[in-house]
């Protein structure tokens, strides 16, 4: 096959995240959550975060279904954002996400990869109310169009 290993979307590292994901499930006592989908391919990602008083992400969990890329990138993202400051997360760009994922993706597959990133960017603006219900974002979040 004419693909270098590091350019292979289905390299071991990515399949590992897909098949044995980090923090797939739900967070105990989440403070923030959000869910979104990609109607074209049906990928869904739900993210629950517990953000501490120091504005640091204590725990990050995801649920969802979809292609290998959307689910593996969610797993990678959960692993990467734990312990990070919310302000750091806000500065984490779509380009940064694509770089972290690794292999070069065509524009269509970039949408799969960026779905979890988009959900996280909205989740940090979507506090959970006293009843444990995730509301919408409290204000208009970052420009979601920047992924393209």
């Amino acid at each position: 096959m004419a693909f270098r290993d590091d350019e292979d979307i289905y390299q071991e590292h990515i399949l590992d995240h897909y098949e044995d994901p980090y923090h797939r499930g739900s967070c105990e006592h989440p403070t923030h959550m959000h869910e979104d989908d990609n109607p074209l391919c049906g990928d869904v990602v739900h993210v629950e975060l517990r953000i501490g008083p120091d504005r640091r992400v204590q725990e990050a969990w995801f649920a969802g279904e979809g292609c290998c890329i959307s689910q593996a990138s969610a797993s990678m993202l959960m692993e990467a954002i734990e312990g990070k400051q919310v302000d750091e997360l806000k500065r984490f760009s779509a380009e940064g996400m694509l770089t972290m994922f690794g292999p070069r993706l065509t524009p269509n597959r970039q949408k799969c990869c960026l779905l979890p990133w988009r959900v996280v960017q909205t989740a940090i603006h979507s506090p959970v109310d006293e009843n444990g219900n995730g509301g919408g974002p409290t204000f208009t979040g970052p420009d979601l169009g920047e992924e393209t």
Binding site: Y18, E19, C41, R109
Partner: protein, 416 residues
């Protein structure tokens, strides 16, 4: 595993006419083009015709007194006659050139629909329609207060004609149905549907985008009132499609778009529309694409539509047999003898986009997603599916490469 030994057409020889089919991708993979339901490729004969017209015969049509315009007009009208003969329409004015199948259906929904459909009227479509044959009817319903109802599909993936009988009533104004499902591949009994609809006093529009390119068509034998299809799915360029309409209906319908060509005369007070087909061809039509479509029709007729249909059905039968050997394949749609050369499927545990991505690495081009049929996918309980669709230039070797590539997808996701 090989249930088909030979095919009725010598695809290897025909492929020599299609420059793009000798493409090699990803370094060493011959392109295996199995996305023909989305759009077909075109032979040199069509491409050369486009070049020839632009280089030597092109001017605007139906306008000039000059030699070049006359010449261009003759070619454009010859193309109309080729289409007429190809689908056995009664007369050339019943053949309207549009920008595509979608435009043709929208033309009917807007022009005929707005003039004839009222609040409380009913429009019947099916659960298996392409969005292009559902959204224009929903829009018409929104404008008029009419109701859209759906013929359900059976578990096998066929239209439930008993349910159709129950849906038909004196409020039914039109039945809009695909001749062949772009997902299931199901060949629908159009003649029978038209007979039942007409008995109930309703008209019928047939979305023939997936049938006209692949099998012999006879709009008069169908008895259909309107038939729509695309040029780019049958060797022609994109940007041209066809609406066939019964002349008495076209004559009674108001024009759709306004502009040049569609008028008999214009005054300061208003306008008087031209007769069909000009009445529905406002503005400069897709001149060269229509002539290119005519060249595509010449090519198809030289091969023979019956042979094309047989060839594709045998490829689909062989693909079914080969794919059944791979565990975890779920076919969407009926058995090969009840469908065209379209195979939609899912591979257990692997998302459709991952399947298509891995197939691409083998050079195999298939479609992944909902194929512009979201309601059907919901009905089938799948978010997305894969679709391999054949044309007369596909070979048994390509079916084998498809099966091998699917095995590879299974290997990559083996641990799941």
């Amino acid at each position: 595993m090989s249930i088909v030994e030979t095919l009725p057409l010598d695809a290897e020889t025909l492929r020599e006419d299609f420059p793009i089919l000798s493409t090699v991708i990803h370094g060493d993979r011959p392109l295996v083009y199995l996305d023909n339901a989305a759009t077909t490729q075109r032979p040199r004969q069509v491409i050369e015709k486009l070049v020839e017209v632009y280089e030597r015969q092109y001017a605007n049509v139906h306008r000039g007194i000059h030699w070049l315009s006359d010449h261009s007009t003759d070619l454009f009208e010859e193309a109309r006659e080729k289409v007429r003969s190809f689908i056995n329409a009664g007369s050339a004015p019943e053949v309207i050139f549009t920008t595509g199948c979608t435009m043709a259906i929208n033309l009917v929904a807007r022009s005929w629909g707005d003039a004839n459909v009222r609040a409380g009227d009913e429009i019947i479509i099916t659960e298996m329609e392409h969005h292009s044959n559902s959204v224009p009817w929903h829009q018409l319903a929104e404008r008029t207060g009419a109701v859209v109802r759906h013929i359900p599909i059976t578990e096998e993936g066929l239209l439930d004609l008993d349910a159709f009988d129950e849906l038909l009533n004196e409020r039914t104004r039109i039945v809009a149905v695909g001749a062949v499902s772009n997902v299931l591949g199901t060949i629908n009994p159009i003649g029978e549907i038209v007979r039942r609809a007409h008995d109930a006093g309703a008209l019928v529009l047939v979305d023939a985008a997936q049938s006209v390119p692949h099998d012999k068509s006879d709009v008069q034998a169908w008895g259909a009132d309107f038939v729509a299809f695309s040029g780019h799915k049958m060797l022609g360029p994109s940007g041209v499609g066809v609406l066939y309409g019964r002349l008495d209906l076209l004559e009674a319908m108001p024009p759709f778009l306004g502009g040049g060509s569609m008028i008999r005369r214009v005054t300061l007070e208003g306008f008087e529309p031209a007769d069909p087909p000009a009445k529905f061809e406002a503005g400069t039509p897709p001149i060269v694409p229509a002539i290119g479509l005519g060249a595509g029709i010449d090519y198809l007729e030289a091969i023979g539509l019956e042979k094309i249909h047989q060839h594709e059905q045998l490829l689909a039968a062989q693909a079914h047999a080969a794919m059944e050997q791979i565990g975890g394949v779920r076919f969407l749609g009926p058995a090969p003898d009840k469908k065209a050369g379209i195979i939609s499927f899912t591979l257990e545990g692997i998302h459709a986009h991952d399947v298509a991505q891995i197939l691409d690495r083998h050079g195999v081009a298939i479609r992944a997603g909902h194929h512009c049929a979201m309601p059907l996918h919901k009905r089938l309980g799948v978010v997305a599916s894969n679709r391999a669709s054949f044309y007369f230039y596909n070979t048994l070797d390509e079916v084998e490469i498809l099966a091998e590539a699917l095995q590879d997808a299974k290997r990559i996701f083996r641990r799941r």
